[in-house]
């Protein structure tokens, strides 16, 4: 008799036919019986199934019903949590949106959007993102985009007069739009003025390309071009005899045999002050003098000393008189 069958018998998994066979075998020999007992003993000596403590089924049923109720409530709670979550999500989404908008706004402001630079009653000097220097005369305004990492450095002259000292960068041309003309440079200094519907460009150093209605003109230092917005056929290129156009940039006047008439004209423009030469003959007087960062009073003092004339103020108008 094999041990496996005996074990199966002990466990109680044998069928009727097997049971009969084993019973017969057991009765055949006392040694069979002893072998069987040995196996049975082992089985019985193995740790027994644990006896579970008594449980109160009534109590368990009550507990179950309680748990079931709470579970239903729990489902509702979960649902509520979900709506809270939803709200949270909306808040989170709103927050992200706000942050993104803010970020975009800031990004835009600092890099993308156009930036305005304007002067009111005083001359303003500033540098552009590429390092180029701009000097805005009184009542002037330029707009430039901050996306200067791209191919072009674009600036628009809205009004007034600006002197540009452009940093050299061959790969990124510097482009100024003024009215209907476009000024393209690589690295030069020049003055651009919008005045009564016209654009006036005067070159200080380097070469400047001016484009207007499919035409291109190259300007050299001391050359000036004036382009009328209304009529682009009337374009004139002139030689600039002096550097007075730059007075607001350098705060420097270099007069060399300059008629007093012209001097006063420049001073009126520079200092926004009404100045009148009372005697017609004095207008033709020639002045040679250099003024650097001087006040109007100092300049007038020099004029009066030089020509032995009087400077008086009457009704807030300066009179150069005798």
């Amino acid at each position: 008799m094999n041990k496996e069958l005996l074990e199966k018998y002990i466990i109680g998994e044998t069928n009727e036919e097997e049971n009969i066979r084993i019973k017969n075998w057991l009765e055949q020999d006392i040694r069979n019986r002893s072998e069987y007992l040995k196996i049975k003993d082992m089985w019985e000596r193995l740790p027994k199934p644990l006896e579970a403590p008594e449980v109160d089924v009534d109590q368990a049923w009550e507990n179950f019903k309680f748990a079931r109720e709470n579970r239903v409530a729990g489902v509702i709670e979960v649902a509520e949590n979900k709506t809270v979550m939803m709200k949270w999500n909306w808040w989170a989404a709103a927050g992200v949106l706000v942050i993104c908008s803010l970020g975009f706004y800031l990004f835009n402001n600092s890099y993308k959007q156009e930036k305005n630079l304007f002067s009111a009653t005083a001359v303003l000097s500033d540098s552009l993102p590429d390092g180029s220097q701009v000097t805005l005369n009184k009542n002037s305004e330029i707009v430039y985009s901050r996306t200067w990492m791209s191919k072009r450095r674009n600036v628009k002259l809205e009004k007034g007069e600006v002197f540009f000292d452009v940093v050299k960068d061959k790969e990124h041309p510097f482009v100024i739009k003024s009215g209907k003309s476009q000024i393209t440079v690589v690295g030069t200094s020049f003055n651009v003025r919008r005045h009564e519907g016209a654009t006036e460009v005067i070159v200080a150093t380097g070469l400047v390309k001016v484009s207007y209605s499919n035409k291109e003109v190259y300007l050299h230092p001391k050359e000036m071009i004036t382009i009328q917005d209304g009529d682009t056929t009337k374009v004139s290129v002139e030689k600039m005899p002096d550097l007075f156009y730059k007075y607001y940039v350098d705060r420097e006047f270099v007069f060399e045999n300059t008629k007093l008439e012209r001097v006063v004209e420049l001073l009126i423009k520079a200092y926004d002050q009404k100045i009148v030469i009372d005697r017609e003959a004095d207008k033709k007087l020639l002045l040679t003098a250099t003024f650097k960062q001087n006040s109007l009073n100092q300049i007038l003092q020099v004029i009066s000393d030089t020509f032995k004339c009087k400077v008086i103020i009457k009704d807030s108008i300066i009179h150069i008189t005798r």
Partner: protein, 177 residues
């Protein structure tokens, strides 16, 4: 209709609760945990639309559910007891019996640990849950023949591992008697 369902369910609950609790207790060796497990199983059954969905023997379904829930519970416990081996933790629950029984229990655990998992599980279900091969087969989703094969393998293994030890004990007992 609803009332009828409730009544029917309560009957089921009362009919099976005790034996399911015992079953869970034997897996977990803790009465309260066993109560929780069984309650969990019944809650699942309640939500399951059990009258229609549980086509197979309801009893077999319940035992199987208790088995699965208990194993999950033990796995979680095992994770909790990071620094204690599972076997050691089980030892702590063993009610104090005489020393030889405790030794034998340890021997048995060692011997069982050497068995393939399925054989060990089958043996444990048979021995400690007093389950019939048929029920083991349903619980583990095996055929009865496979269960029998596992059981035979387990018993042969235990016989080889424990017989010498058991014989010694028997002689020892006879001797002192």
């Amino acid at each position: 209709m609803l009332e009828n369902k409730e009544k029917k369910f309560e009957q089921l609950f009362r009919l099976y609760y005790k034996e399911l609790h015992r079953s869970a207790f034997r897996y977990l060796r803790d009465s309260e945990s066993a109560e929780e497990i069984v309650q969990q199983v019944f809650l699942r059954l309640w939500e399951k639309n059990w009258e229609e969905e549980v086509h197979t023997s309801l009893k077999a379904y319940l035992y199987r559910a208790v088995y699965n829930e208990s194993m999950n519970f033990l796995k979680k416990e095992q994770r909790k007891m990071k620094y204690q081996s599972y076997q050691q933790s089980r030892q702590e629950f063993v009610p104090a019996v005489d020393q030889s029984a405790k030794d034998l229990d340890q021997k048995l655990q060692v011997a069982l640990a050497k068995l393939p998992e399925k054989s060990r599980t089958v043996f444990e279900l048979s021995r400690f849950q007093e389950m019939k091969y048929k029920d083991i087969a349903q619980t583990l989703d095996l055929s009865i023949k496979t269960v029998e094969g596992h059981m035979t393998k387990a018993l042969r293994h235990l016989r080889l591992e424990l017989m010498d030890y058991l014989t010694v004990i028997i002689f020892y007992i006879i001797y002192i008697l």
